[in-house]
């Protein structure tokens, strides 16, 4: 079976600044990402702000056009597939429930819009389908005639999900979809997404900065740092035994009761300026185990263990791949 989504060395750079002084300075938001999503799985994409995970998500729903590389949906390159087909296949739920719904439209209309645009249903059928969607995401029928401003954050996010589901997509992207919610409501939405995935056989790309949430919902996770995927593998394995020092740092940084009083590995400094990424491995200035090789050469993504892809010269701790260090 073909994977539902394949990314092959996708790149997206933004030029910034402009003017005379720094022409050509660019942010490498997505810098050569390759991955594949199998039908029905949930892939978690995790990274800190500015790592390019949202840009990547937007590329997949055609909000951004990649500069190079190929995206294949259902085995067909996106560049040759027509937009309507893709939009019906891939939908996204955004982060901020307060800005992602048009404030002047009633909920019924918001959910009906995709069906109207694609001329899927009208009249009584449209009404019935919208009611069905509202029920599907666990909202009371009465919200249909309310404006987004009258709903709580959690309810709004459910409306967003209903709108995304209206086109019956096979791939749903959740771009930080629970980050703006309170913990108690966040849990509701996470459970809803999991339920919908099972009921509708959805494939889920779950983008978040919260490694706890990502690991909880995903079968596989991919960790991004400065536009690149640095580690990817089954969620339990990556969580249980992270191989990239950045993944280790990311997990060590999550505060928890269990970690009380224990010494932790804290990475120094801030993430580097994406306009001027450091040479070699982008993580080397903050990495506790950086060597000369890391400062000189960017490590390739290699499958160090079965199913475990890591971009680190020293993923197994000792010898670098294919060469030795002095």
């Amino acid at each position: 079976m073909t994977p539902i989504l394949e990314l092959d060395d996708v790149r997206k750079h933004y030029s910034v600044g402009g003017g005379f002084a720094r022409r050509g300075a660019s942010v490498r938001a997505v810098d050569g990402v390759s991955l594949r999503l199998e039908r029905g799985e949930t892939l978690g994409l995790v990274g800190e702000s500015g790592c390019g995970k949202s840009t990547l998500a937007r590329t997949l729903v055609l909000l951004e056009k990649p500069d190079s590389g190929e995206v294949r949906f259902d085995g067909r390159p996106v560049s040759v597939t027509d937009a309507a087909t893709l939009r019906r296949g891939v939908q996204i739920v955004f982060q901020d429930p307060y800005t992602s719904l048009p404030p002047h439209m009633k909920v019924r209309r918001i959910i009906a819009e995709p069906l109207m645009i694609h001329r899927i249903a009208s009249g009584a059928e449209l009404r019935a389908r919208v009611d069905g969607l509202i029920a599907d995401v666990g909202l009371p029928a009465a919200v249909a005639d309310k404006l987004p401003g009258q709903l709580s954050g959690g309810q709004r996010q459910r409306v967003s999900i209903a709108r995304a589901l209206a086109l019956e997509p096979s791939l749903l992207i959740a771009d930080e979809s629970v980050s703006a919610l309170d913990v108690s409501v966040q849990a509701q939405i996470l459970n809803l997404l999991n339920g919908l995935r099972e009921r509708h056989g959805l494939t889920l790309l779950f983008v978040s900065h919260d490694i706890g949430v990502v690991t909880y919902v995903s079968q596989r996770i991919a960790v991004m740092y400065l536009g690149k995927i640095v580690e990817m593998g089954p969620a339990a394995d990556v969580y249980g035994q992270p191989m990239h020092p950045y993944t280790r740092a990311l997990m060590a940084a999550v505060p928890s009761l269990e970690r009380r009083g224990r010494e932790r590995i804290v990475v120094r400094g801030d993430p580097p300026d994406p306009k001027h990424p450091p040479p070699g491995c982008a993580f080397h200035p903050r990495c506790p185990m950086a060597q000369d090789l890391c400062r000189a050469e960017s490590p390739p993504v290699l499958e160090w263990l079965p199913g475990r892809h890591v971009a680190c010269h020293f993923a197994l701790g000792g010898e670098s791949y294919g060469r030795s260090t002095e």
Binding site: G17, G19, F20, A21, R22
Partner: protein, 309 residues
């Protein structure tokens, strides 16, 4: 930063050129044949023709335009139709009077607006705030020309306290400046009040208070420095209005400035003079905005640093 000034100067020169061209075209196209206008209405055709040749008006329009630019570059704005004065001399004699009137108006208005605006912002909802709001509502409703007439009626004609017309000394400033300040202050007060209120709500003001910084310092350094920034831009934007205001005020108070010059020249269809007056006023306007922009850039580090890079 230097780069920005250079770029901004270039922009300004382009705008000035636009103004010059526009004024030239406007007068040539709309006003008709200057040679005929310069002579008496019943002057014979050969006299008119002679004038036309003397002034180079028989050349194609783009050649005339180039002559016009050349003269302009040399500081020559042509000759008045009436009396044959050099337009440049008359205009530059009038300019300081207008500039002085405008400067005093801006100064007075800014001080008044700062006091009232900050006072109102700090005592939101109090009698002072309400009084200021009522003043703003009325002041922005009063047409300048009417206020000027009424002021003259009361203070010069009825009470005889202040001079009504002409420049006779410092007291001559009172009525014209009052008229213009009443027109200018409402928008300044509103802006200051609003921006002060908004700034006071900012996290960093709360944080400064949490740090125990004295209230006076929070207001005068932390708040004022941010809250007064819009005022600078606003004064630049309002300089057009001040200029228009001076047209009205100078005519009513017989103030020998550019505005009076322009209106008199327009009424007597003395087009070279109109051209000169409008040109000088327009260039002054562009210059003021240029200075304001630079000022703003130096005052606000956020913009300064963005433009520097």
């Amino acid at each position: 930063m230097l780069l920005y000034i250079v770029r901004r100067t270039a922009q300004m020169l382009v705008v000035v050129l636009c103004v010059v061209t526009l004024v030239f075209l406007l007068l040539r196209l709309a006003a008709g044949d200057p040679a005929r206008l310069m002579n008496a209405p019943d002057a014979p055709d050969d006299v008119v023709e002679a004038t036309r040749v003397r002034l180079g008006l028989d050349e194609p329009i783009y050649v005339q335009y180039l002559y016009f630019l050349r003269d302009l570059f040399g500081g020559d704005l042509g000759q008045s139709f009436q009396g044959g004065y050099s337009v440049a001399q008359v205009v530059f004699a009038a300019l300081p009077n207008t500039a002085m009137l405008a400067a005093v108006t801006v100064l007075v208005s800014t001080l008044v607006a700062l006091a009232l605006g900050i006072g109102a912002a700090l005592t939101r909802g109090s009698w002072l705030d309400r009084a200021v709001q009522v003043y703003v509502a009325f002041a922005q409703s009063i047409p300048s020309f009417w206020l000027a007439v009424v002021l003259v009626l009361i203070f010069a004609v009825q009470l005889g306290w202040l001079p009504a017309v002409d420049f006779t000394g410092p007291t001559s400033f009172v009525l014209p400046v009052t008229t213009m300040a009443v027109a200018l202050t409402p928008i300044l007060i509103r802006t200051i009040r609003q921006s002060f209120i908004e700034t006071l709500e900012q996290d960093y003001i709360r944080a400064a208070r949490a740090r125990g910084i004295a209230q006076r310092k929070v207001l005068l350094v932390h708040t004022l420095k941010v809250a007064s920034l819009p005022l600078v831009t606003l004064i630049g934007l309002q300089s057009g209005m001040i200029l228009a205001g001076s047209y009205v005020v100078e005519n009513i108070f017989n103030w020998p400035g550019i505005g009076k010059l322009a209106v008199d020249a327009l009424t007597s269809r003395n087009f070279p003079m109109v051209q000169g007056a409008v040109l000088v006023a327009a260039v002054a306007f562009v210059l003021v905005n240029f200075v304001v922009d630079l000022l703003y850039t130096t005052l606000d580090p956020r913009i300064r640093l963005r433009r520097a890079s």
